[in-house]
Symmetry: C2
Subunit: 399 residues, 2 copies
């Protein structure tokens, strides 16, 4: 028997990262492949108090169905935090609570994309977003980037030449996978361009609060005068991912579409998780908690940067990230990162994510992504040392 599935499923594959993560779960492997927050920083003790308080005070409501748009207290906390940190001007009513920001990526496809519509993104871009969009069968145009992120002249050229661009997906702060951040000038130029073409923008900002040094830069959302920017936020990186809570801030016209889609998709995010997270904001100092995360990740970033400088051979370059979870390594052009992983790195018990899948239209075979957030210093140093040897051997082989 041949069951007939939808056309969209023919080209969908499981995330290369999630498959790779299974390989790297052996205890002897030092894995820089994941994007996991450091679990030792999760506020476990606090959540014991929080869950007790929620269930004792409002247990029946916490276990019942609730509204699609999300818990009013949680939305109020998140709106306030956005306004404090990002200089936006949003209220609880501008927000929809979702199952992590990954769900917003899926909904972006569902709300905007008919088959063969065009999505613009950075080159490279977040693999999880590309996979989510692919279910709606769009075409991707990946806008060239440099060390400061998307190149605005290239963006403008692409917009001038292409109709049917439904939205632009960007991660201006500590991008996944590249670790790059757009400077202020680029943000201004970007907003000029999208205002001219009136194209909706999805600003994905999971890492913005995790800045180790330098000035916070204004979010695109805070510069938006036409209701074009959809802001994707998450609690996964500043609190924890296991509760699966993210949020979308968007104009009423756009938010209404997402709300209807959320209803059909799964009615609502978990009532109790939302009430617990709101209660955490009530009871504890989130800023102090985020400061602790910043310090630990910033330190690990430095340890990795120092080790790369010491152990990586000439001809290899990488991003020095000022925040977030990732750095991006560029090998000499003739070195293939997927082969490096398979033939040289995994045999040395060290893993990363090859960069090619982050390019929707091919390329980047000589690149890979490295995560530094969830590993102690000595493991980072040991892993980078092994990886340096692997790269040196690959370069020698290629000669």
């Amino acid at each position: 028997m041949a069951i007939k599935f939808a056309e969209r499923t023919e080209h969908l594959e499981g995330s290369a990262i999630r498959e790779l993560l299974k390989l790297t779960q052996k205890p002897e492997v030092i894995s820089f492949a994941g994007g996991l927050p450091a679990p030792e920083l999760f506020p476990v003790k606090e959540m014991i108090e929080v869950s007790k308080a929620v269930l004792e005070e409002k247990g029946q409501a916490a276990m019942q169905y609730s509204t699609t748009e999300g818990d009013p207290n949680l939305r109020a906390h998140l709106a306030k935090r956005m306004n404090d940190k990002l200089n936006t001007n949003v209220t609880a009513d501008d927000l929809l609570i979702t199952n992590g920001s990954q769900q917003i990526l899926d909904f972006l496809g569902k709300v905007f994309l008919d088959k063969d519509d065009i999505v613009l993104c950075e080159s490279p871009s977040y693999l999880g977003a590309l996979n989510a969009f692919k279910a709606y069968q769009p075409k991707f145009i990946d806008v060239p980037t440099d060390e400061d992120g998307m190149i605005m002249e290239e963006l403008e050229k692409i917009l001038a030449e292409n109709e049917n661009v439904k939205f632009i997906y960007v991660i201006p702060d500590f991008q996944n996978p590249s670790g790059r951040t757009w400077p202020l000038e680029r943000r201004k130029k970007f907003m000029e361009i999208i205002n001219k073409y009136e194209i909706p923008v999805a600003e994905d900002n999971p890492y913005g609060e995790l800045r180790f040094e330098g000035e916070f830069l204004p979010s695109l959302k805070s510069m938006d005068t036409k209701g074009l920017v959809m802001f994707l936020g998450t609690l996964s990186k500043i609190l924890c991912p296991g509760y699966r809570l993210g949020y979308l801030a968007a104009s009423p016209e756009i938010l209404q579409k997402f709300n209807v889609i959320k209803q059909g998709a799964d009615l609502q995010a978990s009532t109790i998780s939302q009430m617990e997270m709101a209660k955490f904001f009530d009871m504890y100092d989130v800023d102090a908690h985020v400061k602790k995360i910043r310090e630990v990740y910033g330190h690990r970033r430095t340890v990795m940067m120092d080790a790369m400088k010491e152990y990586f051979p000439e001809g290899v370059t990488w991003t020095y990230p000022n925040g977030g979870l990732f750095t991006w390594v560029i090998l000499p052009e003739n070195i293939n990162a997927t082969e490096l992983q398979k033939e040289k790195a995994l045999p040395r018990n060290v893993a990363f994510v090859p960069g090619a899948p982050f390019f929707p239209n091919g390329g980047g075979e000589n690149t890979f992504r490295m995560n530094y957030s969830c590993m102690p210093d000595e493991k980072i140093i040991e892993g980078i040392k092994s990886l340096g040897e692997a790269i040196k051997e690959a370069i020698a082989d290629a000669k």
Copy 2:
């Protein structure tokens, strides 16, 4: 500016039920409109113990990302429960954990439906399912039903006449909205037909365990020899809906498609919610809990049936459900339930869900759905009395 949304969003509307629920939240309204479980039966005290145990024993893991397929312990408990209650033969590996079974309805559309593909369903069928499928722009054929559910001769005729039927969506036990249950003979005949045509079937079974009297009937899944039946289960009705946990049991070929879709949609269900529910199964007697629910709902069903018999006028008929949450009322053909609601019932502070939206191709204007699970006896009697008056007045007006 005109933002261009996807074509699919043009005809999507918010659920009529969810909109109606907002209207009926005034404290003076006796609402039979929702489908809420009775919150006084939620195991709140137990969940305080459960969440404490999970966070103390494995807090870091509970707050971290986990696998897409779902918590192994929870899946093992659910597989065992399916085999015990439904005579199926599934293992943890046959299950995918989702955000309530509503998410499986969305994924059914995503996995199977290209635009204009055909979905078969009962007439009437669950509105939340129809709305979820509509996002993928199918055509519906609703198979005629009688008091024993889907009429198999009609099903066979439709299958003989239509290619491109991608799947059949059914709720054989205590159907939402009709409260009807398919007898054994129909189940056997149904399996014969789908085995002949080899069409995948989604068996939605949120209420199966809530049988008040009579023998449990075998699930379609337990009669499936060809891997065609996808079983949709949920914890919403036997424990609580606020944690948003459902599960799909399907053949490996089908499950793999759903797994990839789940990854792109939101990575995974909440780690901590899954671990908490598994812990509840570890620590408490779920059967004893379900027995309590059955007794309360069964009693309320009887109260409603008795009141309808006393207060509803001649010419009105309704389902006597042996389980589940709903009964279905059929008015004389010339009485429109939506108008009855607006002009006669809401002014008397009583609410129900008009039946028309449960028919994907129109019809059913003289029908409505009534819920009895979350209301004390005296409110049920009072509400039915008012509703009886409303109906009498509408019948008198129509003469």
